[in-house]
Symmetry: D3
Subunit: 223 residues, 6 copies
């Protein structure tokens, strides 16, 4: 059955904003190395860093009809997450859809397929993380669903989960765990700041992390 | 038999120029979603937008001899289209060949294989769409053909067809259909301009395209 | 047995510097088209050009422990070369390790796996050539070795070999052959300079390389 | 947090057996074209057809420790489902683990990674669907979890879901929907039997499915 | 415009039969190393060897409607050639369609996408060469064309061309060149028979092909 | 410089034979999980198990000339190892070359590229492990070398090293370490035999390897 879930819970805006600042690598580590989408998901331009609530979109392969349906469900700060039900390299999304989504307050797109009009999207400042760039058009024939759980680039994502994306890729944080993840991520950032200074001063990880004993125990030989 | 076809028909210059302006995604749609090369064909630098007449080059794998032969056949505004007869990641083309091609008026290269000297090519402003970047050199031992039909990155291309290429990839337009494709593409551009404004104003695709009825008919449920 | 070889020979600094200037494509050709790493090894940002002595690091899959060990072995001008013993897309290296390596004088990283914190690395000006970008963290559980021969992206590399890397990819020059390779590369550069001018002036490769006779002999037909 | 869920619900044995008979393609269609794992999941030998309850195993990359943990949780008729938290081609499973699993009544393995000892597994009649065959060994250093939800080859799988696997690949059926899926699959099988006879007798799908009118409406031309 | 070309020319039956006997590798060589489809096209079972006239089918991605249309156009001895207009891994064809096609005399399928029901197809003795095996179903929504030129797995194929397929893959022979290709292929077979005996008797290719002089000239050193 | 090394050392025949019996997975483990070629190297037919001394062949891409040169260097029990200097999917080897190699006592081929005539090779019982099957022919234009070190499918192989290959893939054992590797492999086989019986009797790996304590220490929770 194909459904559009119209009411979804979202994480607190300041939690979402905090996760954006921490970035993908830190958030992924902070939540126990979970939530990462496959590394083939690449940004169409460098430098974008976002976090937002997922509006999930399950589409038939080569069919972008549900994206139109989903746009009506967007709230400011949302991120669209598009997952075809069968692997596809077609281009489901271009500058017109981006204009419409942006008008609703959407801040970016994660799509396990192709995107097109990347020059326009770049000029608009509408970031997209995708499997590929492809001008191949999609049809509007088969229903899908909006705001149901999807698997996108190997990650399980529910509507309202927090999507964090930057030059390192894309990470999902479960909505209910977002505040805790932010706390752990901030602790990690603080901790890294201290380490960065010590590394800059020439201290070695071998000493900072007291690795020498364990390396010797495991049998590492210096020759 | 290996041949060099010396006389080929080309599309009208203003048609070619018009297609460049419309861009790959629009032209591809305008001609019924045909003509797209595989999405692995990526530009070596962002922002290039070209259209030109194809000088096709069928080469033996890892052999770039025929590119030298083809350069003599180039006219100003032409685009070289190189297709090895067996899949290859070698680097068939670098800055010397680009210098020679550019001196003949060639405006870019489409190659279903590798390219090298990408820093120099970028500085020269000579755009290339390729399967990969590779410094692996090619030999000059086996004949191929120039201006015969080729299959390049999954698309069938004849000499004189119009090649359109930009950040979205590469599209081929049959020479005889170029004027018609341009007309359809321009209509599409005009139509999109209107839609863009309406989307910016917040109108939804659901309403603009009158999709609600058909969605309900197909059984989409809002919950 | 897992070892750290602490004393390695390096090529002469001026030879290394000369190879950096010549670049990957030229050096690869100059040494008989050998030494190229697989073309999937791409820089995280455009424009970097380096050459340095390889400190090789054989790591267990998804384990970056040995990179900490290797950093202690780095001398100014060195390039780290990381090769997992089984194919991997994890992110073994980020900005903290880069800070530490840079503090030791390391000028770049070649890794047949993933890297993360690419925005920070770009800002630091620490170039990396990698198979992919991935935020997936690595563990520190299994020993590997430092400064033993490795196969990295299809190339055999020994500690102290010269690594040349730029926008075209990565090439390895055997230490003992570095001076000879530089000589051949410089000859090639000089020779290319002359050719470039002749190409710019419109001379054809067909004439410059006297190819017409051999093409006719092999049976090429002009029609 | 790493957990082993010891008590899981399973589908009715006769439902499971019925799904095995229907096969992957039919079950996938019967449940609305959902549940299919990626097509790269291939059997190590032809002809195996199984269905069983999933014991899910989330493992660290290149670490098969949790498979030992999971084997204790197996009941007769179960199928192990192994998903690394990062993509991997290592060989996590061989004939010794298969011997142990088989002794507990396990009837097969689905693994989004590599398997080894395929000759022995074939002789034992222990079927495996995997991403690849690889002799690369795994370590036992990092915890994972057993019987938690996993994403395996692009599909979301919970412990106790029914896994159907044959020469066409692998499909998951949600436990709560298994009886309904079986009913729909059997209806489909019955329906196909009738169609098969009519096709054998030379009737065309164009007539059987009354497609001619709709084709004409859409504009198909016979020339 | 979507069309079904109803009347196509076919090669002589005895020419087609002769090409089947010669096999893919020989025919490919005999026609100057042309016509090979990409090596990812693999048979679903070993041992099939066929040749037949191509009925070409251009389908929309994930849409198999046109296969039903094409079946009506089949004549005994024909081979269906299916090419989606955008890359796809879905399963467009299964045992019901095979039953229908076989009832019309079709002897096999070449599809640049997925196939399903491979166990049934194997039992029926209906050979298929495909990009993958996938149970993912296709829709019937978008028109395509039958008996128009297609690019299938990198090869340009026109209706009525001869398709040769065996364990080595798939090769296309242009209809107008089929008789000539058969003649050249048979000459090659005869020639190889003689060589095979000499090789069995221990004669070396170095001597049989008189390679030693040319190797020495090119500079090969024996050490 | 291109050379043919005519005199190479080989491992003891009984050591080689012993390694064949142990198989790839066991030998790979016995030598510290080293020496494995990439998992894309697959046998053309199931069931072959061989070990032999490597005659290494470095070839130019799409050029099989050096295979003819290498055949003269073969001794009974040798295995040919072919590595192109640039990635290639062409078919460098077929039944004629196999006939010639077999007449010299060669027992198999490892090739990081394509092979053809696989039906004939299967009937001859000449096993090949390759990256792909491809009928695409190779030329005889560019020199390579025989019995020099090569990187084949990611592994460094020297002439005379022992190649072990079976259904699990291909592994290389350094000649000087072959006797030691065999000893370790046999110990492993004996040890596994005992474990196999205990697993068959229902003993768990958790108990056999005393894992429970360490799992608890690391924090695994049973719920």
């Amino acid at each position: 059955m194909n459904v559009v879930v119209q009411s979804i819970a979202r994480a607190e805006p300041d939690v979402v904003a905090g996760l954006a600042e921490c970035g993908v690598a830190t958030v992924h580590e902070a939540q126990g190395r979970t939530g990462l989408l496959a590394p083939y998901m690449r940004p169409i331009y460098a430098g974008a860093r976002i976090a937002g609530s997922a509006v999930t979109i399950s589409v038939a392969p080569c069919d972008n009809w549900m994206i139109h349906v989903a746009i009506e469900q967007l709230k400011p700060g949302d991120v669209m997450v598009v997952a075809p039900t069968s692997p596809s390299d077609a281009g489901y999304f271009g500058d017109l859809l981006a204009t419409s989504a942006k008008a609703r307050g959407c801040i970016g797109l994660i799509i396990d397929a192709g995107v097109r009009d990347v020059r326009d999207l770049t000029e608009m400042g509408f970031p997209v993380w995708s499997k590929c760039v492809s001008a191949q058009g999609a049809v509007k024939e088969t229903l899908g669903s909006v705001n149901v759980p999807v698997v996108c680039a190997g990650a399980y994502i529910e509507a309202g989960d927090v999507i964090v994306a930057d030059d390192d890729g894309v990470c999902v944080v479960k909505r209910a765990e977002a505040a805790q993840a932010l706390k752990a991520a901030r602790a990690r950032v603080a901790n890294e700041e201290d380490k960065r200074k010590r590394f800059q001063a020439g201290e070695l990880g071998l000493d900072m992390y007291k690795m020498r004993g364990r390396l010797a125990e495991k049998g590492l030989k210096y020759v």
